[in-house]
């Protein structure tokens, strides 16, 4: 990887616009820029779950969209589907469902997942077809571009880009390094 120790920071701070799991007061905020159709992101999905399990309340996890739509034909719509689910208060349910069904992300499947998750499917389908959430997805994407996201998944730990590999132990070590020594 890079020869230079490069510090790259998140330009759009985590805020109320974001989808977050965990407390705002958590010692560590982990942000992922991801793409539901990216196989690497699919591999990262259970890794993040494991880290959440290990750290519990001490971690807040935020997911932002970074669909590479030209190489992943369903990624943009999948991201919009997660946002449409968010509009009905079920972002994380859809986020998890999409990563657990990465191989089937066509529109028909997305609409089926909305039904599986007991969403208001009329509303969901209308929003998906009208690309209501496309601007929000683009906003996430561009915030990533301006923060030096160059591929997916890209992680930020307390606002600083994680430039290393992202298996459980490496991510845990990186998180432990930034975590304040006080508290638990």
């Amino acid at each position: 990887m890079s020869n230079r120790p490069e510090i790259v920071k998140l330009t759009l701070p985590v805020g109320t616009r974001d989808h977050a799991q965990g407390r705002e007061t958590a010692a560590v905020t982990l942000v992922e820029y991801g793409d539901y159709e990216c196989s690497h992101c699919g591999r990262a999905y259970p890794i993040v779950k494991e880290i959440q399990k290990r750290l519990g309340d001490r971690l807040r996890f935020v997911f932002r969209n970074f669909p590479l739509a030209e190489i992943h034909p369903h990624a943009q719509h999948a991201a919009e589907a997660a946002e449409a689910a968010a509009a009905q208060g079920k972002f994380w349910e859809m986020h998890d469902h999409l990563f657990e069904h990465q191989k089937a992300l066509d529109d028909k499947s997305l609409k089926q997942y909305a039904a599986t998750l007991n969403l208001d499917t009329t509303h969901f389908n209308r929003e998906l077809d009208a690309h209501v959430h496309a601007p929000r997805v683009r906003e996430d994407f561009l915030s990533g571009v301006r923060s030096g996201v160059n591929g997916t998944p890209t992680f930020f730990i307390n606002g600083v880009r994680h430039n290393d590999a992202w298996d459980v132990e490496i991510l845990m070590n990186a998180i432990e390094r930034v975590k304040p020594k006080t508290g638990s």
Binding site: D35, F141, G151
Partner: protein
Amino acid sequence: MERSALDSGTPAPDFTLRSTTDHTVSLREFRRQPVILAFYPADWSPVCGDQMALYNEILPEFRQFSAELLGISVDGIWSHLAFAKDRHLQFPLLSDFEPKGAVARAYGVYREQDGHSERALFVIDADGIIRWSYVSPVGVNPGADGILTALEALIQRR
């Protein structure tokens, strides 16, 4: 010794390279608009976060600056065409193929030891002057933030 990349303030060397079997692209065609030159080592980088795929997604933002993006590597036309088709690239890939790497050399970004260019970026203004250049470690995708910042700076100069 390797020469280093041409720096800001240097007139961008003109070139004419093939983009398809029967079409060439010259830098001088783009006077009066900014040009982004993205030299990269080779087609078919195996990762999802491929640099060219990323730039492909950011074309609308580049176009807001009226900027033209040109990808350049030493790969032949047939490789470029297959690569562009596979990744749905919506911008030209130029073939710095014969004499091999001549344009990369002119910009000071050819790696003699490897036989391909650096992963190097140049932002050239409407008058054909290089206003920003950046050489990334070969294995590191430099992203697009530097390009966008350089394009913003071009507007502020005027």
